[in-house]
Subunit: 247 residues, 2 copies
Amino acid sequence: MAEDNKVGTYQFVAEPFHVDFTERLTMGVLGNHLLNCAGFHAAERGFGIATLNENHYTWVLSRLAIELEDMPRAYQKFSIQTWVENVYRLFTDRNFAILNEEGNPVGYARSVWAMISMESRKPIDLLTLHGGAITDYICDKECPIARPGRIKVDESEPVCEYQARYSDIDINGHVNSIKYIEHILDLFPMEMFREKSVRRFEMAYVAESYYGDLLTFYRERKAENEYDIEVKKNNAEVVVRSKVIFN
Amino acid sequence: MAEDNKVGTYQFVAEPFHVDFTERLTMGVLGNHLLNCAGFHAAERGFGIATLNENHYTWVLSRLAIELEDMPRAYQKFSIQTWVENVYRLFTDRNFAILNEEGNPVGYARSVWAMISMESRKPIDLLTLHGGAITDYICDKECPIARPGRIKVDESEPVCEYQARYSDIDINGHVNSIKYIEHILDLFPMEMFREKSVRRFEMAYVAESYYGDLLTFYRERKAENEYDIEVKKNNAEVVVRSKVIFN
């Protein structure tokens, strides 16, 4: 297969209610677009949720890392490219490029996905699925940002508590992957976003949380502009970890 | 002008992260689509924000009422039609129809807008703007739902308090019109959405609120499935009022 056919490209416009007060697209909306592109690209190649659901399988997002030099501004067109970098037995690496109106990359993202059975909640061997056909889509397009790294929070004093509400809950009955991004960025004061922008944002999805769960947010400053965040549910299990690097 | 040319029609798909746990599009996302359609329709006719901003004018949403028999489900296509019903000196009425995949209406919406000067924050006379050209777009397409009505809350005990955060704030530095919709529906327990759906939803935008404002939510049950809500900022001024009718 030609390398070009392995890359999906999808067009967007930064909607006026999808930008923040600096007129830049929000990280949550960008994350939503990335996940949609992953869905489109997989569906077009026979690995989408709809096809998988016939087998009672679904994709589960494990890691997401986004690194940006710039963000689309309100009303600007932009596009997102996505491709599969690697397929392992239990995980696949899917990468993204975010291109501005002129088609120049302004950022990249890396994601790691597993496929699980919706009945057993156990992972599925990707290399045997459809006779390993998913490996046909592996593409060596460059993604010049670091892989998702280690996130470690020792801080024991929470910075915020939040009880998961109706609008946090997605089609699967879990707190929406994107809502965690919003809640984590909401830990920072407005001045941070006025003076700086988010250069790198990482999420590690560890466990699921549900309606009514009490989410507790712990934040630890790792360097001048670098913060690690850990979210626990009901004062016990870790739900997600995140790293935010401003510039 | 032919009546057909006065109606704008825009296509959408219910994205997987834009539906709630019942697989139906959320009211917030529908509201966002309605506002975008208003923007597209106005821009295509020379009354969009971009054109207005040259004159330092902007549209301000005053009222929104949405009434639905059904909501698009995840991955379903749907479309939104919008048209201008009336233009008065200080307000214009813009209506919407929400059509399912087959092109049949599943709901309607009514909105009321003013135009203000961004410098004085004072309203602009719509009938003299562009020599009154906006009245050329008035269209008598039917919108078979009641106009936004009176919303009155006597309850003095708040049901919820919320401090406006980074992700609530829009391009204008105000709490986003759509975020109020999410926060208001979050006042209801999950069971309401499991057993019922929102048949009619009304918003009255009274004043602006800002980052850090303490929003206090008052809710009063008006009938079996009908609730009026009032949101105040910093225990003083009313910011928005809302009516939610479940079926």
